[in-house]
Symmetry: C2
Subunit: 256 residues, 2 copies
């Protein structure tokens, strides 16, 4: 029975999409059955996978407005074991209407929990804010991964997400857990690294993944080639780190 | 009569807040009368300025729900010539209610246009998405600055914003202009730099600011000290770049 993991934190550009896409791909490489779901209206997962609009039959929002079934929007990908539901939105005006639809906060939970027997993991990429679709994702998920960078704003954002998780646990998902905090874009031996490490270790040390994702331009280079870094160049240090993260995650299954 | 400039692009972590705060401060250092307005519910401008919640009498959302006047939420800062309206939100549940309030899309325009005789520039920091408050900011603004990084996703985001601007011009702000595209976190001589430069120069070369903001850890270091980088360390290359950006902007006044 599959585990649903949301990748979320209310801060922009900290590697949520990079983590969702590369973790999902790494797990698929390890022969787990994976569903990647993009609930960010900006549709960045499609870009990360090199999937253009014309190849897309429908997205999660079509399921939200009951115009398509989940089967109709679940796409095979060129990655064995990995399926994908994009967040295709035809125009920004759809976004207005559909953010109203997403106010049925438990709809995503019902949709995805009907799918968990088909997958080992369902990974949800969230937008950089708390309300709306992120709330739906947190209500749907078994656990959440928080990617953060070594920056002051990430620390506040993590705190806000933890407060939001408390609200979520009292409003429909009492079993939601923290899968872990993932340090991304990591650089050691900078002034900022020292400042951030001080705060991080103080507040969150018990929840940090052992795996740390290093700053590695290959991760960005891959996006220009429309492929996850772990496929574009599996030996780059950023790719190796995501493969290690998948290992760390899978190790936890063995403890049940 | 003041010029209202929105700092916006629907991509996270590209330096919107860093640009809004450091540009506003640089203009204030140049003795322009400045109002900085934060419309991102995450309240990052307050963090950038080192202003904590207890020092805040109210924010832009209190004006949106008619519980405070704009005078009551306009704060002096420790920066001469610069005033500040924070985006203080007491709890994320306020965020739900207040994103409904912000659906009165022209409200921010009416509020800020009543203030333009008090300032040379009003700078608005926007969240990393198009709808809601960014739409209100674009309806309010004379022009928009788009900060982008050398990354694939920034290019798509810029395209989406340009499409949105066309919609804005037909729905209440026909005079909205592009102030410019600002390249941030710039690093030369990387593989990614070459890839991004190719696309950027192809699509947007005529709209790029001459000023480019280099990757400079001082800009992040300053946030741990609750000060804009241009005050924290005016000679760091990132700070110098923002002072130059202010110069480039002010030069344009002389052409009227
Ligand atoms: N470890 C890394 N090293 C170098 N670049 C990285 C790394 N991780 C991510 N990036 C790049 O940083 C940029 C931001 O990452 P990403 O888009 O995944 O963040 P995000 O949190 O999903 O952003 P948003 O808030 O906009 O959704 C991307 O261009 C990505 O390729
Ligand atoms: N030129 C730069 N060099 C180094 N670090 C930078 C630079 N510009 C910004 N930063 C840092 O990068 C991080 C992201 O910047 P910032 O928060 O301003 O982006 P943003 O677009 O406002 O993000 P969001 O989408 O979350 O609102 C911050 O920690 C900031 O200090
Ligand atoms: Mg993303
Ligand atoms: Mg910001």
């Amino acid at each position: 029975m599959g585990k649903i993991i949301a990748v979320a934190v209310p801060k922009g550009g900290v590697g949520k999409t990079t983590t969702a896409v590369n973790l999902a791909t790494s797990l698929a490489i390890a022969e787990k059955h994976i569903l990647l779901v993009d609930v960010d209206p900006m549709g960045t997962c499609s870009q990360a996978l090199g999937i253009s609009d014309k190849d897309v039959k429908g997205g999660i929002f079509d399921v939200f407005n009951f115009s398509k079934s989940i089967e109709q929007v679940t796409h095979n990908t060129y990655i064995p074991n990995m399926k994908f539901i994009p967040s295709r939105l035809k125009a920004y005006l759809d976004e207005e209407r559909l953010s109203k639809l997403a106010e049925n906060k438990l709809l995503l939970r019902n949709i995805l929990r009907s799918e968990i027997f088909n997958y080992d993991y369902i990974i949800i990429d969230c937008p950089p804010y708390l309300r709306g679709l992120t709330t739906s994702a947190l209500l749907a998920a078994d656990s959440v991964i928080l990617p953060i960078r070594q920056e002051f704003y990430s620390l506040t954002a993590a705190t806000k997400l933890f407060e939001h998780i408390e609200w979520i646990k009292q409003h429909g998902n009492s079993l939601l857990q923290i899968e872990g905090i993932l340090l991304t874009m990591y650089e050691s031996r900078t002034k900022v690294s020292t400042l951030a490490q001080g705060e991080l270790l103080k507040q969150y040390s018990s929840q940090l993944f052992k795996t740390v994702i290093p700053q590695n331009t290959t991760l960005t280079e891959a996006t220009f080639n429309g492929k996850p870094a772990v496929l574009f160049n599996a030996t780059a240090k950023g790719s190796v780190a995501y493969l290690q993260l998948a290992e760390e995650l899978m190790q936890r299954e063995n403890h049940f």
